[in-house]
Amino acid sequence: MLPRLAVLLAALLSLRPGSNAHGTELPSPPSVWFEAEFFHHILHWTPIPNQSESTFYEVELLRYGIEHWRPIPTCRQTLMLSCDLTAVTLDLYHSNGYRARVRAVNSTQHSNWTITNTRFSVDEVTLTVGSVKLEIHNDLILGKIQPPRPKMAPAGVTYESIFSHFREYEIAIRKVPGNFTFTHEKIKHENFSIQTSGEVGEFCIKVKPSIGSRTNKGMWSKEECISLTRQYLTVTNIIILFAFVLLSGALACRLALQLYVQRRRKLPSVLLFTKPSPFILGSQRPYPETQDTIHPLDEEAFLKVSPELRNLDLHGSTDSGFGSNKPSLQTEEPQFLLSDPHPQANRMLASGEPPELGDSCGNDSSNSTDSGICLQERSLSPGTQHTWEQQVGSDSRGQDDSGIGLVQNSEGQAGDTQGGPALGHDSPPETEVPGEEDPAAVAFRGYLRQTRCTEEKATKTGCLEEESPLTDGLGPKFRACLDDEDGWHPPALAKGYLKQDPLEMTLASSGAPIGQWNQPTEEWSLLALSSCGDLGTSDWSFAHNLASLGCLAAPGGLLGSLNSDLVTLPLISSLHSNE
């Protein structure tokens, strides 16, 4: 009975699970595996449960199909959970593979071996990249991939030599601080370039290698970052800038040259000629602009001309002091327009008129910008002539008269007018003495300038005031006011120069019929009518022109004899035609 119980107890005890005294009770590591990179083969294992301080591990290696297990001395009695087996697996890339096994060893016990599940071969090597170098080149990121260069690799064995074909790399880019964008395209070379298309900022790139003909897994490299800044000093930019500077410099030089040449072209003021006409001698236009301006005749001036003047030989002497016998020229020149661009000046000048010229003519001296004839009796006297001259001279400023002045009998006066550059008023002195000359003998001397009437005179007749609106018109305008003075209206309005023609003189003196007047009038482009017309308006206002006609008539008697209307009409018609 008792022996059976003892046997039974022994059997039960033997069945009890417990540590084995023979050293096989120690549990073996649960798993063993290789983690390998290019020439960096590390064997890993998991620790046994209930590991004590005295537990260490042993590793053995086997070349598949060739050798027996051999222990690895470097991994003997290690407490670590991994071991570097690169040194003993150098020909991994040319062999069928290896198998490794690990067991736990205690002071008294050792566990069973745990073998790696798979045959460790080149297929289990995880591919990595050594380094990636980036550089910027004209908005392009150039990358160069460096394969791994492990120290344990034998001489002459490189990544490229083992994996000679089908090396591929996948690239991922991200712009800080965004996420990575994968290109999903594999680059088949170690050099690559990425187009940034003008973006600026920091870019990070990472690379994953692979082999096209293999199933090896790849590991992403560390990201390499490079910052892209906008380059302004690129070669193209510099070239463009240089070309721009050259072009602008050339343009500037050309412009400067052109300006310089243009300046040179301007004639000196001395050489400025308003019109190439004989009147130039007598008439001076201080303001070229006034050449074309037409000033309306001042009615007042016309009206103020005393009828006596009409009879004067002034007509003959109305010939401008130019001394040029070129009646034909009269028609050509717009210088007839006697406009005073500076009426104020004229006014001032007018104040300087000698009292002798009580008539409008004298007062108009200031305004004698007109080229018309100013018929004044007093002007016939030499004294008045002088006054005329003087006044005219003083009026030079304000007188844009074309330079027709009363021509005296003497040639010398004409010469004066001709010589004077300031011809705005010069002519009058020459034209002042019609009476002295023998109308018949006096040759045509140009235009007789008409002096302007002052404002006061203008106010005398309401007609004169109306002159202003007529300033614009070039055509002869008839003043409606013939009332003021009997028959003496036109002279005030007439502006410009009355061409003096010998025929006229004869007419005037002889009281020729109106028909004779017609001829000269037709030739006239200027009418010297009123002694004191307001010539500033430069308007061809032949108001009635009765006065003008009257002025033209040398002898007052002639005028008186002539029917004012009759005289006016042909003159007007002629003026029209001239227009």
Binding site: L62, H68, H94, N96, T118, R119, G212
Partner: protein
């Protein structure tokens, strides 16, 4: 002189033909997608090789044996090994897991296709088996016979990567993505 020239010319032509011949054999398997087979194997590699309990024994006689095969024998050895796998290994292996079985089946079908293309090349050119090729084939069969059938089949399946690597090396196969 003429005879020597003619003989030299003939020798040159023969060499060229042999060179072309060996190259032409390589072209037979270019169209095969080896990469697909390799990927299929990697998925089942762990499961199959884990069952191999005899690591110090090899069937395919390691790469040294296969590496020693000359280019002229490549056609014969390839043909023999394909027949070995299709006729013996795939038939002897009993796989319980369906996923692994599917992969093994796809590999087997690819081997059948490779056999067919190789047979067409053989009809055009002569795939003569020399003694060295025959010896290598016999060694492999002997190694397979030394083990138990199930262990041998498992081990042979586990060594598929060796066989595929050897085919890549000896035949011009373009890599497929």
């Amino acid at each position: 002189m003429k005879f020597q020239c003619v003989s030299l010319w003939l020798l040159g032509i023969m060499l060229i033909l042999c060179f072309v011949d060996s190259r032409s054999l390589r072209k037979c398997l270019i169209s095969t997608d080896m990469h697909h087979i390799e990927e299929s194997f990697q998925e089942i590699k762990r499961a199959i090789q884990a069952k191999d309990t005899f690591p110090n024994v090899t069937i395919l006689s390691t790469l040294e044996t296969l590496q020693s095969i000359k280019p002229l024998d490549v056609c014969c050895v390839t043909k023999n090994l394909l027949a070995f796998y299709v006729d013996r290994v795939f038939k002897d292996h009993q796989e319980p897991h369906p996923q692994i079985l599917r992969k093994i089946s796809s590999i087997a079908n690819s081997f059948l296709y490779m056999q067919k293309t190789l047979r067409q090349c053989q009809e055009q050119r002569q795939c003569h088996c020399r003694q060295e090729a025959t010896n290598v084939t016999r060694v492999i069969h002997d190694n397979y016979d030394q083990l138990e059938v199930r262990s041998a089949a498992i081990k042979s399946l586990g060594e598929l990567d060796v066989f595929l690597a050897w085919i890549d090396k000896n035949h011009e196969v373009t890599s497929s993505a």
